[in-house]
């Protein structure tokens, strides 16, 4: 297990280097001088400008500039926002809890809706329930989240006035969380439902399920204990991928509901051409993505002992 994790960690290093390189190079594509871009539109004097050039190492070759950038990033220095002049990393960390809360709530909703319906459809395939839930899932996957968000705002905030349409509440409360979490969760509920159904269908055809039934085990027990556990593996992977997907897929949701998370921060940065902030957000979420993938892999390894043997086979 430890060797496997170390190996995966070692594989991460080039990927993280690559990510930082892409984010660094994106600024080089901009017309003009990076120092001017990073100082923004505000009035700046020659001293500021020269200090920024010195900070970025613009008089040095590009690889030295990248080295400087990387050295700063590794020390947690992502620069300062052009717009608000606050430090980038603390600003991102400040928004992190909001994004995480939204993602966790959405995931919970997705699991509560998706898994039971997926199992029920698989247990009685081609029944009315199955067909209904599959059409529902197809609708859920196809419905653009920003449109669903607008429609729910129209119904629950504007017409019925039951739930707030924007913000997180001061202090943060559950009422503000309901609509964004539901919108974000519903699309994933559809994905998880379809995945659970197809995995369960596959598992239910295996011999060990027939054996379990032949032993006279109660159907409930066969489904929950034998079949679902085996069908869980791809579902766990999907859940792992969706945690990060939820954070990044929430860009539109955070914007529509004015939810103060990282994705909205990135969006605002893009709008105001606040490049240091945008670079910081993209790099942070990319790092998060890579780390979560590693955790999912580790979990996968833990859940499915067969992978260990497969890995051993490859090595041998």
């Amino acid at each position: 297990m430890i060797v496997y994790l170390l190996k995966r960690l070692a594989q991460l290093v080039p990927v993280l280097f690559g990510c930082s390189l892409v984010v660094f190079l994106s600024l080089q594509l901009l017309p003009g001088d990076a120092a001017q871009v990073l100082l923004g539109d505000r009035e700046f004097n020659q001293t500021d400008y020269l200090a920024m050039r010195e900070y970025l190492g613009l008089d040095e070759p590009v690889y030295m500039q990248y080295y400087k950038y990387l050295a700063n990033v590794v020390q947690g220095d992502f620069g300062r926002s052009v717009r608000t002049h606050e430090k980038v990393l603390p600003a991102i960390l400040d928004r992190f809890p909001a994004s995480l809360t939204l993602a966790a709530a959405a995931l919970l909703i997705a699991l509560i809706i998706g898994i039971p319906i997926g199992i029920l459809s698989a247990v009685k395939p081609y029944s009315r329930l199955d067909q209904g839930s599959m059409i529902g899932a197809l609708l859920g996957v196809s419905m653009p989240s920003f449109w669903l968000a607008l429609m729910l705002i129209l119904l629950f905030s504007l017409y019925l006035d039951w739930l707030p349409a924007s913000g997180r509440g001061i202090p943060p409360d559950l009422k503000h969380l309901v609509l964004p979490a539901f919108v974000l969760g519903s699309a994933y509920a559809a994905t998880i439902c379809r995945l659970t159904r197809s995995c369960m269908l596959e598992v239910l055809n295996y011999d060990f399920v027939r054996t379990a039934r032949a032993k006279g085990l109660r159907e409930m027990f066969v489904i929950n204990k034998h079949a679902f556990r085996n069908a869980l593996i791809p579902v766990v992977t999907e859940v792992g991928i969706s945690i990060v997907g939820l954070i990044e897929g929430s860009t539109v949701i955070e914007v529509v509901f004015a939810w103060p998370g990282i994705a909205r921060l990135a969006f605002q940065a893009a709008q105001y051409r606040d490049y240091p902030m945008l670079q910081g957000c993209v790099l942070t979420v990319a790092i998060l993505f890579v780390v979560v993938n590693l955790i999912v892999d580790a979990l996968y390894y833990y859940l499915d002992p067969r992978i260990k043997f497969a890995g051993a086979g490859h090595e041998g």
Partner: protein
Amino acid sequence: MKAEAALASTAPARSHSPWRNYWRQFRQNGLGLCGFAISALITALAIFAPVIAPYDPIQVNADKIFEARSWSHWLGTDELGRDFLSRLIHGARISFFVGIVAVAFKTVVGTFIGLVTGYFEGVVDSLLMRCLDVLYAFPRTLLALLILAVVGPSIPALIFVIGLGGIPQFARIVRGAVLSAKQNEYIVAARSLGATSTRILWRYLLPNVLAPILILSSLSLARAITAEAGLSFLGLGVDPTLPTWGGMLRAGSPYLRLHPHLAVFPGLLIMLAVLGFNAMGDAIRDILDPRMLNRVRGGRTT
């Protein structure tokens, strides 16, 4: 894997044309057929928009702002007095154009990388795959935000950012398919007869990996249309005067309470288009994916 390969290689022998077989199966798939009909309808809307649309979608009419539904304007007019129905019909064009070109872009680039890395392996393979790992590590929307903020919004930029995120997926799947397909004896035979690598790749390997490519590209069309609508909705898409469904939704959202139809209809059309392509893609996958075939057979015998 072997069973799959065997299935794939025996399928053409059973009938003269596997495509005729596929079409027969497709016709039996109700949901897929519905999806096909919806997709065809919306494609027709996109192609014949200038003929169907009653008005010029860009023409601003200051004296016709927010007109109610009437015989002359079936869906009323928008905040600039433009005919809403005409804008909806024309909206299909840009959404489709961007979606189709973006999918073509990622399909061609992803397939090329997958073929080359799977066939040659070695240094090229590991180098290219590491590059794709980096691309894969980026959250798509945020990468799109970064690129669009740097190069500025335009149709080519939009196509590029939507296509870019899908390349690793295509490359990985094609690479996997090539790795297993090149073990086949006919590849060894072709090579021993002196066929060049280009010929082997183009003539023998590409047709073998066509099924996964087709499945993936049909499913990613729906995704590309949603992505375009999402970026346009965020104001990062094309010029806002041009009619796009995402852009119209954005323009209509401030008037949600008084004129909800301005936000309802563009969203409905996006959903319909995505639903159509998703249903069609699912049907194509069911037909072309031999693993599914095994499962259905297994299900019937038990």
